[in-house]
Amino acid sequence: MHPSRPAKSVAELLALARAQPGRLDYASAGNGAANHLAMELFKALAGVNLNHVPYKGAPQVVTDVLAGQVPMMFNSIAPVAQFIKAGRVRVPGISSAARSPQLPEVPTIAEAGVPGFEATTWLALFAPAKTSRQIIGRLNEVLAGVVRSPEIRSPLEAQGHDPAGGSPEALGKFLRAEHAKYAKVVKQSGARID
């Protein structure tokens, strides 16, 4: 959140949004981007109406939020960590279920007044359906070893990502849950592609 706006906490942000329904803007990397739907989930669970300003891709949107042209957005921590430190953007809350190791003093949005809110971005590897099980198994084994290795773990963390891993079945289950969660958010929010 840009510091020119008076909201320092999630509660103050909600009060600000309720005072001007549909007039407080938020930016995203584009229609259907993870940070677009994360804010739509926030709107649905918090019961507030914010106005979406979609951008085309990540770099420009961060520049504009830093300049105060759009007052707020969800963004992964690593690319904006230096601006948080310098006080150029404010962080009322964290989107995950647990607090961030990088910003341990900032509460999660769920604990700050929007229970049940959780939205993360992730990266996962898939193959076209019907790829042989042996090949899938071998790729999973190699991927798990790579994300656990220290040489990969620290540059991943520098990108703001926590290494994951797990079985193909675990990813399948996680994907079905994410798919169902966003189906609901899209339906509730009426989000669509232009």
């Binding site: 994907l175 798919h179 966003y182």
Partner: protein, 158 residues
């Protein structure tokens, strides 16, 4: 008389061989015996391509489709993770950046790719969990058209 039949009749050696092993009345059973003898080989021959593919894989570079342009976090992580994976598998990986339409272009290409282990898809939530719900007529099904391999990493928003 066609050439095939002529061949059988006109080569005395072959006729003699047939007669000596099966006799005149055993032609049908000889055919069956020959077929049965050949069957395991046929079955093996049918199985061989898939066994050979799995054992030889990968014998050429593996393409990893990433549905964002080069330079962003997903692209950086794709390169970071797939290069050592490919090295362990003994082949290079090629990152194929197919950005555009919020990731739709990349995911559609990946969904239609040949499932031979030489095309993979590295995705964020957009193409696999969000975009299909935003399409009026979905052009792919992330659950049906893809086989999960593994979760790479996750990040929180602030």
């Amino acid at each position: 008389m066609d050439d095939h039949r002529a061949g059988n009749v006109q080569h005395p050696d072959r006729v003699a061989l047939c007669r000596s092993t099966i006799g005149r009345s055993g032609l049908l059973s000889a055919l069956l015996t020959a077929l049965l003898a050949a069957l395991p080989e046929c079955t093996l021959a049918l199985l061989l391509p898939s066994i050979a593919t799995a054992q030889a894989w990968p014998d050429r570079p593996i393409r990893v489709i990433v549905s964002v342009p080069a330079g962003g976090t997903p692209d950086v992580i794709a390169r970071l993770v797939t290069a050592p994976m490919a090295a362990q598998l003994g082949q290079p990986s090629i990152i194929d950046n197919r950005g555009g339409a919020g990731g739709l272009i990349g995911v559609e290409v990946a969904a239609k790719a040949i499932p031979d282990g030489y095309t993979l898809f590295l995705s964020s939530p957009g193409p696999m969990a969000i975009l299909p719900h935003l399409q009026k007529l979905p052009t792919y099904d992330p659950i049906v058209d893809f086989a999960p391999i593994g979760l790479i990493s996750a990040a929180r928003f602030c």
